[in-house]
């Protein structure tokens, strides 16, 4: 069943929704990366919550004009207009008053959402048939979706994705280094507006699938997850799109193949699973890699200090050092050095003495800056330089 859903074998509508969710996920992941790199990730939270009054007003206006209040294009148009107003309100509060952007975001999202709730209760009292369903925009619902709606979402997702791909270069440059982008002739204001426009497009298209409370997750989680894997902005964008797309695809498929599983939360949780994997397993920035690095570093420090102690004939009491020396075959359990241990200890001592010469000589300042008590001098200086240092090291000994 799940396999069928993943391979689009569950009927035309479910397939359209899955495709739409995948396109939406990719678009959200890519767009979200620019937001994240601009450090404005939570602006999307204000935008998404600000869609609610627009949806409700569009319904009321459509019904008042005698139309069908549930028409998805009308509702999405309304949501786009009020999301735009919300965005303008955030910008205005953050730039024209002394309020910081986070306060502006929180104020706009709570007030617009509160107004939306008021309008929803107004609609409930209008006693118009077919009002049920507006609540679906809170959490998304793909069950019982009309074919035209599924088509709209698939097309909307694809269009948003296409726009994102077209605009990715200026957005990437702006997100990464605004000053440089400006110097290269990118219009910063227009790029920012385009980026926010894309965020709005993602939000509006995602309303029906993910719902307005959780759409922000699709804009935030994939970029944060992708950031663990690479330091290169273009790769982060690509990965984020992949993670977002995979979340949309798998999440929609799980939701389509099981009963009573709402689409939005499942997509978000799939994204979070991918985030957790990245958080723990990514090389370099991941938690496990960091822990392994820290442990390897500790080992090297203990081993080095243990060898130096052996070289100076000092007894070792520290248990980790003893264990490491024993495991390397440098010493017995009691800390008495083996032959290999004596040799390694002598090498460590020699290296330390060479470093002492380097650090005492101001003309070798640059090399001395690399001293960390672990790196062998041969890795910093050439063999000739080391030999020269050895000759200098020998002289004071010869003098005594």
């Amino acid at each position: 069943m799940l396999f069928d859903a993943l391979t689009l074998g569950l009927g035309y509508n479910a397939s359209l929704v899955t495709l739409g969710a995948t396109a939406l996920g990719i678009a959200a992941g890519v767009t979200g990366t620019f937001l994240y790199l601009r450090k404005r990730a939570l602006v999307s939270d204000a935008i998404s919550h600000a869609t609610l009054p627009g949806v409700a007003l569009a319904f009321i206006v459509a019904v008042a004009l005698g139309g069908d209040g549930r028409s998805l294009p009308v509702l999405l148009l309304g949501s786009a207009i009020s999301a735009g107003l919300g965005l303008l309100a955030v910008q205005w509060l953050a730039t024209r008053t002394r309020l910081t952007e986070d306060a502006a975001i929180g104020a706009v999202l709570s007030v617009f959402f509160g107004l939306g709730i008021v309008l929803l209760t107004v609609i409930q009292t209008l006693a118009t048939a077919g009002q049920a369903g507006l609540e679906d925009f809170l959490l998304g619902s793909t069950a019982g979706m009309l074919r035209s709606e599924a088509l709209l979402i698939a097309v909307g997702g694809a269009l948003t994705l296409a726009l994102t791909l077209i605009l990715r270069r200026p957005m990437l440059m702006t997100a990464f280094d605004p000053a440089h982008a400006g110097a290269m002739g990118v219009n910063l204001n227009r790029t920012d507006i385009a980026m926010m426009g894309l965020v709005m497009a993602v939000t509006v298209v995602g309303l029906k699938i993910v719902g307005l409370i959780l759409i922000v997750a699709l804009l935030i989680i994939p970029p944060v997850a992708a950031r663990f894997w690479s330091d290169r902005a273009d790769r982060v964008v690509l990965l984020s799109g992949l993670i977002g797309g995979a979340s949309g695809w798998i999440g929609a498929a799980i939701s389509a193949s099981a009963a009573d599983v709402p689409t939005g939360p499942v997509i978000v949780l799939v994204a979070f699973v991918l985030f957790s994997l990245s958080f723990f397993l990514a090389p370099g920035r991941g938690v496990m890699a960091a822990a392994l690095n820290a442990f390897a570093f500790r080992r090297r420090v203990h081993l080095r200090q243990g060898l130096l102690s052996l070289a100076h004939g000092q007894p070792i009491y520290e248990s980790l050092t003893l264990r490491l020396l024993h495991r390397q075959g440098y010493a017995g359990r009691d800390g008495v050095p083996t032959d290999a241990g004596c040799a390694a200890a002598a090498r460590a001592r020699l290296d330390e003495e060479r470093w002492a010469v380097v650090r005492a000589d101001p003309s070798l300042e640059l090399a001395a800056a690399r001293y960390d008590g672990l790196t062998p001098l041969q890795e910093v200086l050439t063999a000739d330089q080391v030999a020269e240092i050895d000759s200098r090291r020998a002289r004071p000994e010869a003098a005594t």
């Binding site: 939270d45 008053t97 910081t100 929180g106 509160g114 809170l138 989680i221 979070f272 960091a290």
Partner: protein, 307 residues
């Protein structure tokens, strides 16, 4: 309107609304100044999974398991945000976004999967509460305020939010000076020997207490609005912390009263029969106050005027 109608139907929700607004606005002032305004947003989202988990573990719709679950979830969220921020070196806003959306999604999924259809627990209720339903059936008029038998019938939410309000107010009063110093100049506070980390965590715990107690009564949207809008509007009125807190309390009270009255009686003035959501209306009124302050507040200008 006569007391016989007002006291049973509107007094308790009105008082609860005012208490909620004040309880949230007080810590909101400090969160705002510390640029942590969205902590209230995050906490109020994660309350949902906490309440659902509390219900699933205890199996009953009782207050204490759900409050404990909510508090646990809030704590878990704070720990997760800090862990992701520190271990993953992710900026705080994004870390917050990851955690609260995920926990909220988990809460929704738990709710849909568990058999809660026969009990009064749903997402809409969690979002915008049901302030209007907290009526005081035992009351017959103003005289009931002096009648112990009738007083015992007050909604229990009233006592809980009153206790939370007293607790939050008391804590802020006791720790006013260290909190003030640590908020404005953390480095100076640390050099005085103040435990800045503990103060920061303590503030978030107080915010969580306020959010959970308020959520119990009115749902999360009003909580977010009250955490941010009254303090933000107050920030545009004055440059003094004491005055800002006073303004924010005043704005919170006005929002709660005006919002409740508009929601309950406003539609009647337009000839409609039914009231609209009081929680939504309170949030809307607080937004209007903020808008007015942003347009006309004496201290609204940016701190560093743009060249």
């Amino acid at each position: 309107m006569s007391g016989a109608e007002f006291v049973p139907l509107s007094l308790a929700p009105l008082v609860i609304g005012v208490l909620v607004a004040v309880t949230c606005a007080l810590p909101g002032n400090f969160l705002l100044l510390r640029r942590q305004a969205l902590v209230g947003d995050a906490i109020s989202h994660v309350v949902l999974p906490g309440i659902v988990a509390g219900f699933l573990v205890s199996g009953v719709i009782a207050t204490w398991p759900m409050l404990l679950g909510a508090a646990g979830a809030a704590l878990l969220a704070v720990v997760l945000i800090e862990a992701i921020r520190r271990l993953g070196r992710i900026e705080p806003g994004a870390a917050m976004g990851v955690v609260f959306t995920t926990l909220f999604a988990a809460g929704v999924l738990l709710l849909e999967q568990s058999d809660t259809s026969d009990v009064h627990l749903d997402v809409e209720h969690a979002l915008y509460g049901n302030l209007e339903s907290l009526i005081w059936l035992d009351a017959t008029g103003w005289a009931s305020l002096l009648d112990p038998a009738a007083l015992a019938g007050l909604p229990p939410e009233l006592f809980r939010i009153a206790a939370a309000c007293a607790l939050v107010t008391g804590l802020l009063a006791i720790f006013w000076r260290p909190l003030k110093i640590a908020t404005f100049d953390e480095g100076f506070a640390a050099s005085l020997g103040l435990p800045v980390q503990a103060i920061s965590l303590g503030l978030i715990v107080v915010a969580a207490i306020a959010a959970v107690a308020a959520f119990d009564a009115v749902g999360s949207i009003i909580v977010i609005a009250m955490f941010i809008c009254p303090p933000a509007a107050a920030r545009l009125m004055t440059d003094r912390l004491g005055a800002q807190v006073a303004w924010s309390v005043a704005f919170a009270v006005v929002s709660a009263v005006a919002g409740y009255v508009l929601a309950g009686y406003g539609p009647l003035w337009f000839g409609a029969r039914d009231a609209v959501s009081a929680a939504g209306m309170i949030a809307t009124v607080s937004g209007l106050i903020l808008a007015i302050a942003a347009l006309a507040g004496p201290r609204r200008r940016p701190l560093q005027p743009r060249a």
